[in-house]
């Protein structure tokens, strides 16, 4: 029975031996890691694209405004009650009541028809409730629900909202998310194949060593161990390089995007990977490497037996 310390020492030895092996052939190592990193960078880029688009459109949806034009015979007191009812809704963010008098004053001030308005007998404008949806409930279905609620008031004449583009944008982001998932799955399979093939080549190159090891009683687990570390390290280092690619892409795009955002009056900031997301990328890379190495090693090691 192997003692835990001996077991850990053997793993540490396999890990250090594998690191040494990678360092002894820097060009080959770098090429393998570069290919893996590119396969991981693409889905990670898509993920960041969707994430940033969600944040960007989140700030845009905050700008969506629903305007409720009340019937002209609704009193100001009743309009205030209706505005309070709207504020009580979870979907509602900022609710502003613009009285008919305020509306007329504003129109007089900005429309340039001040003199013409003097000729009117009374105020033709209704009280208006302007409402912005809550930022966490600015999705198309919540906005539609809010619109239905506001339209159901008997005092409502018209509810004006233009959320068609929001629905289209949301559908587009949903599609991008699906594309990200499909790409992630395909490229994960690609990484498995790349690492599996790298392990196959390593096993072929070290065939004599494997034969001797098996001849002196090395178990499959013992022989497989360095290859698993090799696959895990390829995946981990590939993911690390992918993270560096993402930082470089972020740095290259950020000034351009900030300038674009400023043109639209937005305070949008480009988001990179958060520490937990970086952990998922590195852990996922290492796991893919480990699985790829396991598949490659299981297939090829069993075919190698010592010969005389």
């Amino acid at each position: 029975m192997t003692s835990p310390l001996t077991y850990l020492a053997r793993h540490l030895q396999a890990l250090l031996g594998t690191l040494g092996y990678l360092l002894r052939r820097p060009l080959g190592t770098l090429l393998s890691i570069a290919v893996i990193s590119l396969a991981l960078t693409l889905p990670a880029c898509l993920y960041l694209l969707v994430k940033n688009a969600r944040v960007a459109t989140g700030s845009v949806t905050e700008a969506i405004e629903l305007t409720v034009y009340l019937k002209t015979d609704v009193s100001l007191e009743r309009a205030r009650q209706l505005a309070d009812s709207a504020r009580a809704r979870r979907e509602a963010g900022r609710v502003t009541l613009i009285s008919a008098e305020e509306g007329l004053e504003e129109f007089r001030k900005y429309s340039g028809f001040g003199a013409a308005l003097e000729a009117l007998q009374g105020n033709p404008l209704p009280h208006v409730i302007s409402l912005r949806p809550n930022s966490d409930r600015a999705d198309p279905s919540s906005i539609a629900a809010l619109q239905r609620y506001l339209s159901s008031w008997p005092e409502t004449d018209i509810v004006q909202v233009d959320n068609e583009w929001v629905r289209r944008l949301s559908a587009l982001l949903g599609l991008l998310e699906r594309v990200f998932q499909v790409f992630a799955a395909l490229l994960a399979a690609g990484v498995l194949a790349i690492i599996g093939n790298a392990i196959r080549l390593e096993i072929s190159a070290r065939r004599a060593e494997i034969e001797v090891t098996k001849l002196v009683g090395g178990s499959n687990a013992y022989v497989r161990r360095p290859f698993l570390y090799l696959g895990g390290l390829y995946g981990l280092l590939g993911a690390g390089l992918a993270a560096l690619w993402l930082i470089a892409i972020n740095a290259a795009l950020e000034p351009w995007l900030l300038q674009l955002a400023r043109l639209y009056g937005s305070s949008f900031n480009l988001l990179g990977l958060t520490p937990p997301e970086l952990g998922v990328l590195l852990g996922g890379g290492a796991l893919l490497g480990l699985v790829g190495a396991w598949i490659g090693a299981a297939r090829h090691l069993s075919r190698i037996e010592p010969r005389q």
Partner: protein
């Protein structure tokens, strides 16, 4: 103890390497397996080392029928054997020390025990001073002694060697054979396949002679 009972071995290419071979080698015995090239000596050793399995018949090693051993039990079985080859089968990119330590590494021996036992094995074959050398920096005779040190380092009960002196001059061959004799003297069962009849006569151990896959005379015992 090694026992062959009516063993047949046919390779996938149709060659009958062994035909109805039966013999028994007692614990602690030193036996020469003799015969021409292709006679079937290596096949006997391959069957003992479980590099091959018999087509028919049974091979018993230390009372265990090797034919009934599952694949997962083979590594542990091989750790109880010491095997030496004519071409040494050393890891050329590893120093002598690492080559000799390999059987202990795969058996999860503690590091401090590995160090002691590797140095003791190298002492026995007279290569203590060359432990950091690469095999390619050694002579053929020294490489063979590294192979022997590797075969005995895990203190096997059975030591098998296939033409261990094939590449050596007679003087070096005698030295190597004396090493094997020393291991036999401490209780290790030694089986050596060789066609060097001068050595066989000089050392005078029991001989099993194989010709065209059949055991012919010698001093076989069943």
């Amino acid at each position: 103890m090694i026992q062959f009972e009516h063993v047949f071995k046919r390779y996938p290419n149709g060659r009958e390497a062994l035909q109805d071979v039966s013999f028994r080698i007692g614990a602690g015995e030193f036996v020469f397996l003799t015969g021409r090239s292709g006679a079937g000596k290596s096949s006997v050793l391959k069957l003992v080392a479980l590099l091959e399995r018999p087509t028919r018949g049974s091979v018993l090693v230390n009372g265990q029928d090797t034919g009934s051993l599952p694949a997962r039990a083979v590594p542990a079985y091989r750790r109880r054997l010491g095997v030496v080859f004519q071409d040494h089968q050393l890891l050329m990119d590893r120093p002598v020390y690492d080559n000799v330590a390999l059987p202990l590494m795969v058996s999860d021996t503690r590091y401090r025990d590995i160090d002691k036992r590797v140095r003791a094995a190298l002492d026995q074959v007279g290569l203590r001073e060359q432990e950091r050398a690469l095999p390619l920096e050694l002579s053929v005779g020294e490489q063979q002694r590294v192979g022997i040190a590797r075969a005995v380092v895990a203190r096997p009960t059975i030591l098998i060697a296939d033409e261990p002196t094939g590449n050596l001059d007679h003087s070096l061959a005698r030295d190597v054979m004396q090493l094997f004799t020393r291991f036999q003297e401490v209780g290790v069962t030694v089986v050596i396949a060789t066609h060097d009849m001068a050595l066989v006569r000089e050392f005078g151990h029991r001989e099993l002679h194989i010709d065209e896959g059949r055991l012919l005379g010698g001093t076989a015992a069943t």
